[in-house]
């Protein structure tokens, strides 16, 4: 294994961005999934398309839209400037890029979990004196836990691999916004970088395997606990 100090920084930065993006998206993802599963409203199909759009759009396109929105002349950019927040070409922009791209995966998994909840459990909860938000936190949330863990691990893994959107809104600045994929891109474009690139590829594979294993183990544990 041949990792330079810059590579270590890139790995840590990747983890930081993926963790932040996932944690920030979880409550929003939960609320969105709940809205889609349990509520009836008119523009549901539209929201559905909007949520899933990042799944099919090239990440570069998403990155470009984010750049326009948060850039100097965009609404988001103006608001952030008013609040004194530096955004474009910082790690925060990478978080937003990762969150946008990974969000549909998160919502999808949570939805699957929620759809399998028996509606009569919610009716039982209401008739036993629990209000809708009480039911949301004491019945829906715990029963969606598996979906949330599955979705988070998928999203976390997707965030670690985010490239297209990130390079546009956050750039590729070593030590500031350079994540593992961006570092590999740099090594791949230099004639002497093959072994360095391969080391980082190895780290990528290892991280993915660990996440998928954790995902399986936690899923199994929740299942056996429920059966106990």
């Amino acid at each position: 294994m041949n990792l330079s100090p810059e590579d270590i920084t890139a790995i840590l930065l990747s983890l930081k961005i993926a963790v932040t993006a996932t944690l920030l998206s979880l409550p929003i993802g939960f609320a969105t999934a709940w809205l889609m599963v349990f509520r009836h409203f008119r523009v549901k199909v539209l929201l559905e398309v909007l949520i899933n759009l990042p799944l099919t759009l090239p990440p570069v396109v998403i990155g470009y839209f984010l750049l326009l929105f948060f850039g100097r002349n965009g609404w988001g950019g103006a608001m952030l400037r008013a609040a004194g927040v530096e955004f474009i070409f910082t790690w925060k922009a990478a978080v937003v890029a990762s969150a946008t791209v990974g969000f549909p995966l998160l919502v999808r998994s949570i939805r699957l979990g929620m759809e399998s909840i028996d509606r009569q459990l919610l009716q039982a909860s209401r008739s036993l004196g629990a209000s809708w938000y009480d039911t949301l936190f004491t019945v829906v949330l715990p029963l969606s836990l598996r979906g949330m863990i599955a979705g988070s691990s998928l999203m976390f893994a997707r965030s670690l691999g985010e490239f297209g959107a990130t390079i546009i809104v956050a750039g590729n600045i070593p030590g500031v916004t350079q994540t593992i994929p961006l570092a590999i891109y740099d090594y791949a474009s230099s004639p002497t970088g093959t072994s360095m690139a391969l080391s980082l590829c190895g780290v990528s594979v290892a991280l993915s395997v660990i996440i998928l294993l954790l995902h399986e183990v936690i899923g199994k544990q929740l299942e056996t606990r429920r059966e106990a």
Partner: protein, 351 residues
């Protein structure tokens, strides 16, 4: 408990319009599947909103389109026992039981968990996960959970349909005793006449989205006698059976009944079809049937071409069913003395 209903609801091509009132702590809603009784229950408990009309439980307005009142389900204090127990799978038995109790305002908490656990015999289940319970145990926990919410009204929505016969009749005494012990009025929903006979004092009959009327379970059983494949089911609770020669002798009124499938010790419930009773005008010399009862005819009723004969023997009543021509031949009228022959094997033990 008094429930006043005057509601309308359209669901696709199904049109529900119900107007009636039912009073009494052991009431029932009877109807075939698809008659609208489930929809009615959902609207009573607030899980579905009627299109228009009014709903009152005692003097509390649950719903009124005129006054723009639609009480949220959690504010109605109407707890439901579902057909399948629907226990919360992420909670243990204890947490399931206390779910409603914890959310009940302290001033309404009249039933204590300890007393309920005692009555429902749940003590040994408290530490178990809900998926490790049998069907009957699950239903008992679900019943306990609903009662511990200290509701104004307990709605039992076909709570026995998912259980097999022997379990069903083991649960019924619990359903009744819990309501009587703690004074919780209930509304029992079912399509089974015998369940209605065992659980309720008056019944609201629902058919095709309409309320056909209020009746007693006995009237209901009599009206359905001719069309029910088992006729009118006489339900007998018998105690103190003694085994003798492979048969069981059970005291019944001032006499006794001889039954093949009996049980000594505890009280048992038996059903006897009105079609398994043979009537004689005179005492037959010798018959193979083990029971021959001298009875007085107290009432005659018609059910779709059949005659129901209400018999009184030793202070107890039985309903026998005969075809009209037999009634004419035997010249049966109120006050007659008849002999009823019943085979020992005709009594079916329910639990």
């Amino acid at each position: 408990m008094k429930l006043s209903i005057d509601i309308q609801k359209r669901l696709g091509s199904f049109d529900l319009a119900m107007q009636s009132a039912i009073e009494g702590d052991h009431s029932g809603i009877f109807g075939a599947s698809g008659s609208g009784k489930s929809t009615l229950v959902h609207m009573i408990s607030g899980l579905m909103t009627p299109d228009s009309g009014e709903l009152y439980l005692d003097d509390v307005c649950l719903y009124s389109s005129r006054k723009r009142v639609n009480l949220a389900p959690e504010k109605r204090r109407i707890a439901i026992v579902f057909q399948h127990a629907r226990l919360f799978p992420h909670l243990g038995v204890k947490a399931n039981l206390l779910f409603g109790y914890k959310r009940c305002h302290p001033e309404h908490r009249k039933i204590s968990p300890e007393a309920l656990i005692e009555v429902l015999n749940l003590g040994h289940l408290m530490k178990r996960g809900v998926n490790k319970l049998s069907g009957g145990e699950k239903q008992r926990v679900a019943l306990g959970r609903a009662v511990l919410a200290n509701p104004r009204l307990l709605v039992m929505d076909e709570p026995l349909s998912a259980l097999d016969d022997s379990l069903r009749y083991q649960i019924i005494p619990y359903l009744r005793s819990v309501s009587e012990e703690f004074g919780v009025p209930y509304l029992f929903i079912s399509h089974s006449i015998s369940e209605m006979q065992l659980m309720t004092d008056q019944v609201m009959v629902v058919s095709q989205g309409r309320i056909e009327g209020i009746s007693t379970p006995d009237q209901l059983a009599r009206a359905g006698m001719a069309n029910n494949p088992k006729g009118y089911l006489n339900l007998l609770r018998l105690n103190g059976a003694k085994a003798h020669d492979g048969l069981f002798h059970c005291p019944w009124g001032s006499g006794e009944l001889i039954i093949s499938d009996g049980k000594t010790g505890e009280e048992s419930l038996f059903e006897l079809s009105s079609r398994d009773i043979i009537l004689f005008k005179q005492h037959p010399e010798a018959i193979s049937a083990r029971n021959l009862l001298e009875c007085t005819v107290t009432e005659l009723f018609d059910s779709d071409g059949r005659k129901g004969v209400v018999l009184e023997s030793g202070g107890k009543t039985l309903v026998a069913e005969i075809v009209r021509s037999a009634a004419e031949e035997l010249e049966i009228s109120t006050g007659n003395t008849l002999f009823a022959a019943i085979k020992a094997s005709a009594f079916r033990r329910l639990g």
